[in-house]
């Protein structure tokens, strides 16, 4: 039998559209407009999951986003998603979902053994049991992690697209119930730009499920008219299926819109979800309230649900979840549900904790034949996979004792209502302050902090007429504040079948004496926290709310305690005999509901995660099979392997080509900054450690930058192009940092200096040609006189190269005769190809960054960020020669005389030669005087750079070693990860061409 719990008519579902779906491998049918939860209830499926800790059978507790129990694994393969609330999943054709946290099936779950053994799993069980001995934690953890956890993540890549949207408006209204709708209407009619957000597929809020009238006319029609009017306004934007997730400073709100989640077909044009980042002048919170469960023995069995949820299933979905129904309440409002169930053919009993029940309600129950047990409580429930029987007894509230006869009732559904909690999560996130209301027995908004308005049930007001008029008025007030000409005020009278009178909620709490049977009175359904656990936490000293929360886990999990928090706090207040205000509440943090990482990431995934920077020659590198490495955001050729070559073969070939004839490097990624202005020379004198005043126009100089701590920060060659015009180069990775550094001092420290910095990194393509044949080669392609006499080392010339206006710098990072040819980027590839073509006779060899590293290391040239790490001074690097003694001041100078920088045992930059002549030391290896069997050993330093040198035929390394410059020739040891110990000798940092003749040829 299918849909056996469906009523004959009624509900807001489309009975003409049957939808097939699968739950736990079994096929079912539902209707368009159903949620997974309503369709399961319609098919009499109550057991939908197992609880987190005890693996108890669990059903559907609520009908909204607060659901703690009915969380399922939705979808298959790469789209599978865990922890989805069945109460929010809109049914679509072919939907597949399964229970979580059970094995082998939800019906026969081995983990439910935990329930039998529950007396040994109290709160804090894991902390107490698995803490000792500490060394075994890793062993325990493996099993604990396996036993815990809800659902599983997909292992394949998510094929869906997620979008992000930035939005600015006058007014954002969170919640599309009547309060939100009326505020939107008032502000919209007054001309404000309004964004209305609601998490449901249909606007109208909880009143859609209730019988009510406005000005004595049908309320549902009235809502429809308002919604229609809002949709007709151009200045109002409405987002359905959208959950406001976070409320931050300055009225910044994030919201997750489910765009196509509820569709059976993937859209080619629409994303799956859209993440909204909204900044509005004012925010109206109209999120309504969550109904509060009652705490009684075994209150978690399938078949037990919130009264308002029962009402929603019946009114909205045409589902009667039980035939023999008990309403357990402490307030009047829930009676509407009882009458509705009675009307639809269920047999009703009501258990009410109060003695003074409104006489009209009593009379109506009598008229309808509903048995009413006043000042009574449900003291036990039974039924393994669904509730089937309860015991009811009178409670003497004064004595806090059970009294009278214990009555047994058969039932298949319990509807409970313990009052309502305003949904204060977002309000709290916005730093709004709460106070405990002793009439409503819950936390309500107290003090607003941001430019915000809170209305309706969300504000702790449950009077329909008041809410209608207040909400509309607040919409007008907001418009007025924002200087709009406001629409007319309107007055409504709203009437519910049974009004929610504030005085009608009675606190219902477990006493210190047991007024109930059984041991499990659930406070937090999702985390299996019982009243006994809260008692235990208090006994063991976890008295602060934050401690109780962490010790018992109440309020944690995917629902973040939407149904449990207030009950836990009220119980703590009861235990300590203190007002709830003094107990306080835990902090509410975003997100309001679980949200996908996909939406947060948006389009910033794969190649869009981080921008990829490519030089103008990149395509050529690709075509010529370069292997790339990432340097900052740049893609640089690492090496250019020929057929069958590995990295070592290729680098060896490239190195020898440069040393013996001609190599070419794409050095375009070097940072380049154009500096102009009358004070540029003065400025450079402050920025660099060396002096710039005497640098001639057309000359280049190497410079070192230090921060104010005296530590090396960047380096590069800067060239004087004119009297007040310089071309600065920086490291590839440091370009942006240096640019900001220069701007910082120009804008904050030396405001009187007139210097203009322009980044020209991407304007110039740099071809660095290097090797003994470079002059001969380049002379054939340029009109610049490259002769030794007319173009000496560290000079700069302008002229045509391959017919293109170029800047040529005679500088060298390889130790060989070198020219850096700068051409405008649009000619980069052209010139490169000309060079390749023309250089054939010199065996021109393109080389990558690895060869560049080897060649510079052979010469002992440092790489900032590799050989330095932000904690070394120029003196540590033996670069005293570049630190001006004459300049009064430059950045970092004063720090060179701090006691720490003057220490004699500082690490110094040295060379290292392995004694076996074959081991290439791993970079980062620690250097010790004498290797011991195990740490601790006395550290001397570490290896910063290490390569095999093809020209020398043995490995070379650079290192930072304590007092290293005084240890030249001394033997040290390097213990490796594999247990081997390598002996090495401290050497000079220059391994090749010590005299420096090569680049002067």
């Amino acid at each position: 039998m299918s849909n056996q719990n469906r009523t004959m008519y009624g509900g807001r579902i489309d009975r003409g559209k049957v939808i097939n779906f699968v739950f736990n491998g079994k096929k079912y049918k539902g209707f368009h407009g159903d949620t997974l939860a309503s369709a399961l209830l319609a098919n009499d499926v109550h057991l939908v999951g197992r609880s987190f800790k005890y693996h108890r059978a669990r059903g559907i507790l609520t009908a909204g986003s607060e659901e703690p129990n009915a969380i399922v694994q939705l979808g298959l393969g790469a789209r599978t998603e865990p922890n989805m609330r069945a109460t929010e999943i809109e049914l679509y054709e072919g939907l597949e979902a399964a229970s979580q946290n059970c094995w082998p099936s939800v019906n026969y779950d081995i983990g439910s053994l935990n329930n039998v053994l529950s007396s040994i799993f109290p709160a804090g069980f894991y902390y107490k049991t698995f803490k000792w001995p500490p060394s075994l934690w890793l062993f325990y953890e493996h099993f604990i992690r396996k036993a815990a956890g809800l659902g599983h993540s997909p292992t394949a890549k998510n094929p869906d697209r997620y979008e992000q949207k930035f939005y600015y408006c006058d007014l954002t209204i969170v919640g599309g119930g009547i309060s939100g709708l009326l505020s939107a209407l008032a502000a919209g009619r007054s001309g404000c730009s309004v964004l209305l957000i609601d998490e449901n597929p249909e606007l109208g809020g909880y009143l859609l499920d209730y019988n009510f009238s406005i000005n004595e006319k049908d309320g549902i029609k009235w809502i429809k008219n308002i919604v229609d009017e809002l949709y007709s306004m151009d200045n109002v934007r409405i987002l359905k299926r959208t959950t406001a997730m976070g409320y931050y400073d300055y009225n910044y709100l994030t919201a997750l819109e489910k765009v196509t989640n509820h569709c059976d077909q993937l859209s080619k044009t629409l994303p799956r979800e859209r993440y909204w980042r909204v900044r509005s002048k004012k925010i109206v919170l109209a999120q309504g309230a969550f109904e509060r469960p009652l705490v009684f023995a075994d209150n978690d069995r399938p078949g037990i649900m919130m009264a308002s949820a029962g009402k929603k299933y019946l009114s909205r979905y045409g589902v009667l979840p039980g035939k023999s129904v008990v309403l357990f309440t402490n307030n009047d409002h829930a009676y509407q549900t009882a009458f509705e169930f009675n009307d639809k053919g269920a047999k009703l009993s009501v258990v009410d904790t109060r003695d003074n029940i409104d006489s009209r309600i009593q009379k109506k129950c009598e008229d309808l034949g509903i048995k009413l047990y006043s000042s009574s409580s449900i003291i036990s429930t039974s039924g393994n996979k669904k509730v089937n029987q309860i015991e009811v007894q009178k409670v003497d509230r004064k004595q806090n004792e059970l009294s009278g006869e214990c009555i047994t009732l058969d039932t298949d559904c319990i509807l409970m209502s313990g009052g309502w909690n305003p949904a204060v999560q977002l309000f709290s996130q916005s730093r709004g302050k709460l106070r405990y209301d002793n009439v409503l027995n819950t936390f309500v908004p107290d003090k607003l902090i941001q430019d915000q308005i809170i209305i309706g049930c969300n504000n702790g007001c449950f009077d329909l007429s008041k809410n209608l008029n207040h909400s509309y008025q607040e919409g007008l007030n907001a418009a007025k504040d924002l200087n709009y000409e406001i629409a007319d005020s309107i007055n409504w009278t709203g009437e519910e079948e049974i009004s929610f009178t504030e005085s009608s909620v009675e606190p219902y709490m477990l006493g210190k004496k047991k007024v109930t049977k059984g041991s499990k009175h659930f406070i937090d359904f999702q985390n299996d926290v019982t009243a006994a656990d809260i008692f235990l936490a208090q006994r063991e000293g976890y008295i602060s709310v934050e401690h109780t929360k962490r010790y018992t886990t109440t309020g944690m999990g995917t629902d973040q305690g939407k149904t449990s928090n207030v009950n836990a706090l009220a119980l703590m207040s009861h235990i300590h005999d203190k007002p709830v205000d003094e107990i306080g509440h835990t902090t509410f943090r975003p997100p309001f509901s679980p949200q996908t990482f996909g939406a947060i990431a948006g389009r910033s995934v794969d190649h869009l995660f981080d921008p990829e920077r490519r030089t103008s020659i990149h395509k050529w590198h690709e075509e010529n099979k370069a292997v790339f490495e990432d340097v900052g955001q740049w893609k640089r050729p690492y090496y250019f392997p020929k057929k069958k070559e590995n990295i070592h073969d290729a680098v060896k070939r490239e190195c020898l080509a440069v040393r013996n004839s001609l190599g070419m490097l794409d050095a375009s990624t070097l940072g380049k900054i154009d500096l102009r202005g009358p004070d540029t020379t003065k400025f450079l004198n402050m920025i660099y450690t060396n002096a710039w005043s005497k640098l001639e126009i057309g000359s280049c100089r190497y410079g070192l930058m230090c921060n104010e701590h005296g530590m090396i920060f960047d380096d590069g060659v800067t060239t004087r192009l004119g009297e007040d015009h310089y071309h600065m180069t920086t490291t590839t990775g440091g370009a942006a940092r240096v640019m900001s550094w220069l701007e910082e001092f120009l804008q904050t420290e030396w405001l009187d200096m007139e210097v203009f910095c322009t980044s020209v990194t991407e304007q110039w393509t740099v071809l660095s040609i290097s090797g003994p044949n470079s002059r001969k080669f380049l002379q054939e392609l340029t009109d610049i006189d490259l002769s030794k006499e007319n173009f000496p080392f560290m000079k700069f010339r302008e002229g045509k190269v391959c017919g293109i206006d170029s800047r040529v710098f005679r500088i060298s990072f390889t130790g060989e005769l070198s020219f850096e040819v700068n051409v405008p980027s649009r000619y980069g590839r052209f010139v490169w190809e000309q060079f390749m073509q023309h250089g054939k006779k010199y065996n021109i060899t393109p080389y990558g960054t690895e060869t560049m590293h080897v060649l510079r290391a052979e010469k002992g040239f440092i790489i900032v960020g590799q050989d330095t790490d932000g904690s070394v001074t120029p003196m540590d690097m033996n670069m005293d020669w570049i630190v001006s003694k004459k300049k009064q001041d430059f950045l970092g100078k004063r720090s060179f005389t701090r006691p720490d920088t003057l220490r004699s045992d500082r690490k110094k930059f040295v060379g290292l030669l392995v004694n076996d002549k074959k081991t290439v030391l791993p970079e980062g290896s620690h250097i010790v005087e004498k290797a011991l069997k195990q740490p601790p050993m006395k550290m001397l330093g570490h290896v910063t750079s290490s390569y095999y040198s093809p020209i020398l035929g043995h490995p070379i390394a650079l290192a930072m070693v304590k007092n290293g410059t005084n240890r030249l020739g001394e033997k040290v040891e390097i213990p490796l990860m594999n247990g081997k110990v390598i002996e090495a000798t401290i050497a000079d940092t220059v391994f090749y061409d010590k005299e420096g003749n090569k680049n002067n040829e």
Partner: protein
């Protein structure tokens, strides 16, 4: 997330800016003449008040200009933004 009123561009989202710590820390005029203690204070010591704080920000993804912000660290309210070189506002100025 703040809205920051850049003195050059107007109100923009915080994501366009970055903060660079306390403002009005003057670099000593003649560093060679200050003591290690004074130099250490310039380098390392910063206020971390609960209340009014003056800090430096840059509009990185905008005009790239540096400016100062007067912010209440308790409420995160930005009381004033002003250009580099402008007088540090007193509490009575706002």
């Amino acid at each position: 997330m703040f809205v920051i009123n850049c003195p050059y561009c107007g109100e923009r989202d915080q994501t366009e800016f970055s903060c660079h710590g306390e403002a009005h820390i003057a670099r000593p005029d003649n560093p060679a003449e200050v003591s290690d203690q004074e130099w250490g204070e310039y380098l390392f010591f910063r206020n971390n008040p609960k209340g009014i704080h003056f800090e430096r920000w840059t509009h990185d993804h905008g005009c790239r200009r540096w400016f100062n912000v007067m912010r209440d660290t308790v409420s995160d309210k930005i009381i004033k933004t002003y250009k580099m070189g402008d007088q540090k506002p007193g509490v009575t100025d706002v």
